[in-house]
Amino acid sequence: MTGVALLSVFVLAVFVGFEVVSKVSTTLHTPLMSGANAIHGIVLVGAVLVTGHADGIGAQLVGLLAIVLATANLVGGFVVTDRMLEMFKARPGAGASAAKEGEGR
């Protein structure tokens, strides 16, 4: 992609990022932050590509370190988010009053 294309993509992604989360309820702030945190672990892709083209032994070691760190961010982020969300389940039929209030709005 050329520079302008990247710029266009960047500008549109800013709008998507702003709009997508502007409606989120505070209930989900922690999981959302944690999920977003996992997503930027995709820098792993960059780390893999750069390391795969690295020449010197020093650069390779740095690259491998970057891969370990990025993997921890990516994999750990998704796992920890899933653990948080595992616990968000709706009341199984009980609690008619609470459910009603939830819909009343």
Binding site: G3, A13, T26, A36, V43, V48, H53, A66, A72
Partner: protein
């Protein structure tokens, strides 16, 4: 005008296009197939964030995000001929082997530390990637645009890494949670920021790897001095801010590598993280700049701790039990103390007993109660409290009119400054002193006997 634009675009777009060709030209997939694959992964990330914005779809959203990441990784491996493949795979296995057990075993109260840690290592990885890419292309001139992105990635990635590590240390209580204001911190901060600026300019002007590396080291110092003076109460906001920083770092890394996926994913996180940080700061009535630089302007960022002289009404567990039992509607306001005392299961059990007696129980969640926004929701969800009963501040405030008893559990700190929105804090308030878990267990026992 024309000449300017031409000069700019010559430097701007020549080299990045070339870099793109370099990294996506020689793999099993064609360059276009790689781009389409990355686009699909980017769409997965957008859908993940959308999903995470609603309770019903949140878990699926997270899985979609993970699937997108997997797709992207497969595409990356097929996009080009990678050297050291075995080592790379080994490094991935090591990273996963460290992170997965840590993420699985962490206690709910320690989630915030975990998020801070993962965020920090991501920022560090991005900084390293930018430095390596600069080292690789040392022969050719990558153009001022790409170099600016490199400098940004190296600096902000390091800030995010160091800041997150300090945050981690604070939350894990490896170091004090109090604001740390070293003498002359203000000047150290201003000095290191000035140094960072000079080094960034040098990096862009020269494309020199040494300048960029020193810039990254300076970034570490900036990160440490940025977070040290922040008080425990503002830590959640700082985590969110550093998360947005890492997002922007990864986006800049996307510019450096001409990689659409890093660009889109990083920008999404940067933009959404910025919004989230502002939402949180607004909920606490603080400005982000105030949190970061308030301590430097003089004093810490912690609220004043002057002890009030008003008489308080201390009561016993039995009194609380009676109050609860004869109410029609109870709002529970949980706080940090609930998390510390791990009393979430007890409060849920208490609520169930009360509901069994026809009493309506709601949970009023202050957005920044606990250690992170939404921390209370996660904690109560862990104890099987259904999310319909969890009400946000805006929702619950009107409910107070028709509420008989408000049970504040380990949340005096959030209720107090919020006295203007929570009516009747003063004369009608009784205090039951003690650990949340102990006290609640006593109250529960008392209610059961009634």
């Amino acid at each position: 005008m024309t000449a300017l634009f031409d000069a700019v675009s010559g430097g701007l777009f020549g080299a990045t296009a070339e870099a793109a060709a370099e990294t996506t030209g020689d793999g099993i997939l064609s360059g276009d197939a790689v781009e389409v694959g990355y686009l699909a992964a980017a769409v997965c990330f957008i859908l993940a964030l959308k999903g995470l914005s609603s309770p019903k779809t949140a878990r699926r959203g997270n899985l979609i995000g993970a699937a997108g990441a997997l797709l992207a990784l497969v595409v990356a491996f097929l996009s080009t001929d990678l050297a050291h493949l075995a080592l790379i795979l080994l490094a991935i296995v090591v990273g996963a082997a460290v992170a997965v057990p840590a993420a699985r075993m962490v206690k709910m109260t320690q989630m915030p530390q975990m998020v801070a840690l993962f965020n920090g290592v991501g920022g560090g990885a991005a900084a390293l990637v930018a430095l390596m890419e600069l080292g690789e292309t040392s022969g050719a001139d990558p153009g001022w645009f790409s170099l600016t992105a490199t400098a940004f990635t190296a600096l902000v990635g390091s800030v995010s890494f160091a800041g997150s590590m300090i945050t981690f240390a604070k939350l894990q209580e490896i170091m004090t949670t109090r604001p740390v204001v070293l003498p002359g911190a203000r000047w150290v901060m201003i000095g290191s920021m000035g140094l960072a600026f000079v080094l960034a300019v040098a990096t862009v002007a020269s494309g020199n790897l040494v300048a960029a590396s020193v810039l990254a080291l300076t970034g570490l110092a900036v990160g440490v001095f940025l977070v040290l003076p922040v008080g425990g109460a503002d830590v959640p906001i700082v985590i969110s801010l550093l998360n947005a920083f890492t997002g922007l770092t990864v986006a800049a890394g996307g510019f450096v590598l001409s990689n659409t996926l890093l660009l889109v994913a990083g920008t999404l996180v940067g933009a959404s993280g910025t919004i989230l940080t502002r939402l949180m700061a607004a909920a606490m009535g603080r400005s982000v700049a105030g949190i970061l630089f308030g301590a430097l302007k003089g004093g810490s960022t912690a609220g004043s701790t002057a002890v009030s002289d008003r008489p308080v009404k201390a009561v016993g567990a039995d009194d609380v039990a009676i109050l609860l039992n004869y109410a029609r509607k109870v709002v529970v306001v949980p706080g940090y103390g609930l998390a510390v005392a791990q009393a979430q299961h007890t409060i849920r059990e208490l609520a169930e007993v009360l509901e069994g007696r026809g009493i309506e129980v709601l949970y009023g969640i202050h957005p920044v109660a606990g250690r992170m926004p939404g921390h209370m929701n996660v904690l109560l969800a862990e104890a099987n409290v259904p999310y319909e009963a969890l009400k946000e501040m805006d929702e619950v405030n009107p409910e107070f009119k028709t509420t008989d008893v408000v049970l504040v559990v380990g949340a005096n700190d959030v209720v107090n400054p919020a006295a203007k929105t929570t009516p009747g804090v003063d004369p009608k308030t009784s205090l039951l002193f003690g650990d949340a878990q102990d006290s609640l267990t006593k109250v529960l026992g008392a209610v059961k006997t009634l």
